[in-house]
């Protein structure tokens, strides 16, 4: 019989005989090494001469059926799973982190949810955050519309890498909402005792019970487990690779905060009677990061066949003057070109310097203080749902709070 992971085995090696549970291969492990979980709980890697099975075993996922009480006095909140490990549990034997796939799993992971709402949970797909694509945004938007006919609000657990992109996409695709749409993630997965998932998820549920008729992201506001910020889906960005408080509202204040209660800091769109879906996207849009040294042919190839392009310019919104003819040609050929800033903070202004004025003259649209990723998604959505002239004129108009007139010194 061939020894398999999960078997209790005796391994003879040059260094002596070891007993323990044979573990699955680790992809970082040396090829000649087998991993053994010893009786004291430690894993070690050893080079085997012979492996004898003492007792067959197996790793199998136990599933538990749990009754979740339904109560009339709390609203129903729908959870749409998209992947990621915000709600997950660990198999101590294998170390594998399994996502919570069902409503039961979810409630079990964060039992306090039951106090807040009746849980309606489904898994739409299970992908890595970095594998997100526009077609998935469309799927989520459609699912949200469907769920909002059954639930008071929707919570979407999402990987943090691309969460702000999804938030922006949903913001445009769902111009009117009958309930809040709240995206939430975790910077420390929930298989760890220190996970931020619990507070984030519970806070998201609280926001999903309000009259917020917008798409929001709810995440830790500080490094402490004290409160969460509510970010408008079109103003939020992941600003740190690993901190709990990685998500920040840029060029605006957060919409509000959550600890025990939800508190809004500013006006927001209220929920309406129905949810409107505009789910077409034109994927022929590129997002271009200008850098000193970018040559004509590079820019040309990035613009080739594109219906639209967002250029992340330097400072107030500039690119090297040598690229002006390329951009001019693209605009003439019918490509919608908008410019945002690499600074992220602050508004673009093409009136101050000559290069800016020239860009404006060739038909580049300055996009105020809009975030680059948001502008990119907005343009895809506009080109998907409107004719080109309307798209052009709406690109620099504030539709979902993605642009503001004023930026305060205290933000």
């Amino acid at each position: 019989m061939h020894p398999e992971p999960g078997d209790y085995v005796e391994v003879r090696t040059k260094k002596g005989v070891f007993k323990g549970i044979l573990m699955p291969r680790n992809r970082f492990s040396d090829e000649n090494v087998v991993i053994l979980k010893l009786d004291n709980g430690y894993n070690i890697g050893i080079v085997p001469e012979e492996i004898k099975i003492i007792k067959k075993g197996h790793f199998e996922k136990k599933s538990h059926k749990r009754d979740i009480p339904r109560r009339d006095y709390v609203p129903t909140i729908s959870f749409i799973g998209t992947g990621g490990t915000i709600a997950s549990y660990v198999d101590y034997r294998t170390g594998a982190v399994n996502p919570a796939l069902t409503a039961e799993d979810l409630v079990f992971s964060v039992p306090e949810i039951v106090e807040e709402c009746n849980v309606r949970a489904s898994i739409l797909f299970n992908i890595l955050s970095e594998d997100m694509r526009p077609e998935y945004w469309i799927k989520i938007a459609r699912k949200v519309k469907k769920e909002l006919s059954h639930a008071a609000g929707v919570v979407i657990p999402h990987g943090t890498d691309t969460m702000s992109y999804t938030a922006a996409a949903l913001s445009f695709m769902l111009p009117e909402l009958s309930g809040p749409v709240v995206l939430v993630g975790a910077q420390r997965s929930s298989d760890r005792p220190s996970s931020d998932a619990y507070m984030n998820l519970l806070s998201a549920v609280k926001v999903a019970k309000t009259d917020l008729g917008e798409v929001a992201v709810v995440m830790h506001a500080t490094t402490s487990d004290d409160y969460c910020h509510i970010h408008r889906g079109t103003r939020v960005r992941k600003m740190h690779t690993s901190r709990r408080d990685a998500f920040k509202s840029i060029n605006t204040q957060p919409l509000g905060k959550v600890n025990k209660e939800v508190v809004f800091f500013q006006d927001y769109r209220k929920t309406g009677d129905e949810t409107v879906l505009m789910d077409r996207m034109d994927e022929k849009v590129s997002l271009i990061y200008y850098y000193p040294g970018m040559d004509e042919s590079t820019l040309e190839s990035l613009l080739m066949d594109m219906h639209g392009a967002i250029i992340m310019g330097t400072g107030l919104g500039h690119v090297g003057t040598h690229l002006l003819p390329i951009i001019e040609k693209a605009v003439k050929d019918g490509t919608v070109v908008g410019v945002v800033t690499q600074c992220l903070y602050g508004r673009v202004n093409l009136n101050v310097y000559s290069t800016g004025r020239k860009l404006k003259a060739v038909g580049v649209i300055p996009l105020e203080d809009m975030l680059p990723e948001v502008a990119y998604i907005k343009l895809m959505w506009l080109l998907g749902n409107y004719d080109i002239d309307t798209a052009k004129s709406l690109l620099s108009k504030n539709l979902r709070g993605e642009i503001s007139d004023r930026r305060m010194i205290t933000w």
Partner: protein
């Protein structure tokens, strides 16, 4: 008494003097606090349905943890950045220690997460890796096996415990720690001390371990055939034999008590009685005070326990009192010690009557607020029931008088799962062979080195055993005085700044003869600077010498430089015991030569 049933094991934790294990922060403790943040920890789900019970109990306390950020802590300690790869410098030191302990190094090292949610780790787990197995050391009592050697990260330093929060400082979190666990192969306190000394020597021989209070921690497990008792933090070597031998004795007595109780058919009545009424006119100040504050006197009945709680031989009452002292109850009384503490014979009789006690029965009273008294008596009941069985397993804290005191129950088995953020490390044979060639000298070699510094072999061994050979070498190389340094180190105590003493001696502040007294006084808690200044001669050496040279002009004229000897005698007559003779001799020679030179 046969020693066969005695099993003693040792667990040693030693901090390494390197950067931290999973980031590039320094391993120093700091008082500077830059920032504070708060967290909560939750037990994680294992396979669905299974939550670690100890973890759950800890989390039920709903405590928050406040962390103090120091200059030597970064985002890694704050659990805001994934751990970096395992510190190779620390690993190499640990591997060398493992080899010196004759252990076999695993072929691939896997870092694990050990769940700890008391807040001492921001992540909620301690990262730990088993690096070697099957080691041993030889002692004068025989071979002691060392089944496991681990490399792990140190926990955060607890600063303060409040009702709903615990404050930790991040300076200590992440310092590399070698954990060496022996098999329960030892039989006596002396043997434990020898093993601890030997392992201590091996650790220090790497010259890369941290020194000072708290940098090495030692837990001793003692079993005499029944429960296992862990003596936590038994780090002072000289005390180890006492702690161990007292614990063996304690367990033997408990076993004897169990036999006696069984033969009597002893039994614990689980009812908790309110006997407050019996004390309505009490003259006991303790009880009066508690009753005034709305407290009650509650009692339990221990059938067949009379004479076991306190007598010539037995002290079970003390064990009961220890169990309630950890929850803050001091007012526990039992029938073997009463009447006393203002509780009268009459009151004792009334309680006995009410509880319907026969001559062999005993009772325990707790005077406290009702809920607390009940909680306390439940602990008493549990401990008394254990007493009929024998020795309960528990964690005990060592005390200065050589005894130990109840601390808490034994920790449950730790839950461990792989640390997926850190890739495993393959350890190749060729690397191990290279390490073997660069191991530090074993004690026998070290003794030769010490002998060459000017002491005899016996003293050399003593220095090694006491773990002061390195500091001996440091001081002697700087200032000399090998025999005096050795004597000071061997008679002195840990917290004396020996460098300072010998630096001052070398500078001529006081005489050699004063060293022993200075060391003794500083050990007794006196301030080193004021003691040194007390011994520091108030006389001006130069002035004394100059004066005597002037007085003995004739002698110098007659004898020239041969006047040195008699002059030295005269000078020392005035300075003996106040100034080091060597220094006086140097100075006198100098001044004499100068004088002769001038007056040629």
């Amino acid at each position: 008494m046969v020693n066969d049933s005695v099993k003693i094991g040792l667990e040693i934790h030693q901090q390494l003097a390197t950067k931290k294990l999973f980031c590039s922060c320094d391993s120093d403790l700091r008082d500077e606090v830059l920032y504070r943040f708060e967290r909560v920890l939750r037990p994680t789900q294992s396979e669905l349905g299974e939550i670690d019970r100890a973890a759950l109990e800890e989390s039920a306390k709903k405590r928050k943890f406040i962390y103090e950020v120091t200059p030597n802590s970064c985002l890694v300690e704050a659990d805001e950045e994934p751990p970096h790869e395992l510190n190779r410098d620390a690993l190499e030191i640990a591997l060398k220690v493992a080899l010196m302990l004759n252990a076999k190094i695993v072929d691939e090292i896997h870092v694990m997460r050990k769940i700890v949610i008391d807040g001492s780790n921001t992540s909620g787990f301690q990262r730990t890796a088993l690096i070697a197995v099957d080691g041993y050391i030889e002692t004068s009592f025989g071979r002691v096996r060392i089944p496991t050697i681990c490399l792990e990260e140190e926990a955060a330093r607890k600063i303060e415990e409040r009702d709903n929060a615990v404050v930790y400082r991040l300076d200590r979190l992440g310092i590399p720690l070698i954990e060496i666990s022996t098999a329960p192969d030892m039989k006596s306190g002396e043997e434990v001390r020898e093993v601890a000394q030997t392992i201590g020597y091996i650790l220090r021989a790497t010259k890369r371990v941290r020194r000072g209070v708290g940098t090495i921690r030692q837990d001793i497990n003692v079993s005499t055939g029944q429960g296992r008792v862990e003596i936590k933090g038994a780090s002072r070597l000289n005390m180890v034999p006492k702690w161990v031998d007292n614990e063996i004795e304690r367990q033997r007595t408990l076993a004897e008590i169990a036999e006696l109780l069984k033969s009597r058919g002893a039994e614990v009545d689980r009812t908790i009685y309110d006997v407050t009424d019996m004390f309505s006119t009490t003259q006991s100040n303790i009880i009066k005070g508690i009753l005034k504050k709305g407290g009650k006197v509650m009692a339990v009945k221990l059938k067949g326990f009379s004479g076991v709680l306190k007598s010539e031989k037995y002290r079970l009452g003390k064990e009961l009192a220890e169990r309630v002292r950890v929850i803050g109850i001091k007012g526990l009384f039992h029938s073997d010690e009463l009447p006393a503490y203002g509780i009268t014979d009459d009151e004792v009789s009334k309680v006995k009557e009410m509880l319907n006690l026969s001559a062999q029965d005993a009772f325990v009273l707790i005077a406290e607020k009702p809920d607390k008294a009940k909680e306390g008596l439940e602990r008493v009941i549990e401990r008394a029931e254990n007493a009929i069985q024998g020795v309960p397993g528990e964690t005990r804290a060592p005390k200065d008088d050589g005894t130990t005191v109840y601390l808490r129950p034994l920790p449950g088995g730790a839950r461990m799962y792989p640390e997926t953020d850190i890739p495993p490390i393959r350890i190749y044979e060729s690397y191990v062979e290279k390490l073997k060639e660069s191991l530090p000298p074993l004690p026998a070699v070290r003794v030769e080195e010490l002998k060459n510094m000017g002491i005899n072999e016996e003293i050399g061994w003593q220095l090694i055993k006491e773990g002061v050979d390195d500091i001996f070498e440091d001081i002697v190389k700087k200032y000399g005085y090998p025999t005096i340094v050795a004597r000071a180190l061997l008679n002195g105590c840990e917290y004396v700044d020996y460098h300072k003493i010998f630096q001052n001696l070398h500078a001529g502040k006081f005489a050699k003869e004063a060293v022993d007294e200075i060391v003794e006084r500083v050990c007794n808690g006196e301030d080193i600077d004021s003691v040194i200044s007390e011994y520091t001669s108030s006389v001006d050496v130069d002035a004394v010498i100059d004066r005597i040279i002037q007085e003995k002009k004739d002698l110098i004229y007659e004898r020239g430089e041969y006047a040195f000897k008699p002059l030295m005698g005269l000078v020392m007559k005035q300075l003996r015991g106040k100034v080091d003779g060597g220094l006086v001799s140097r100075k006198l020679k100098e001044k004499l030569n100068m004088y002769i030179e001038k007056n040629k």
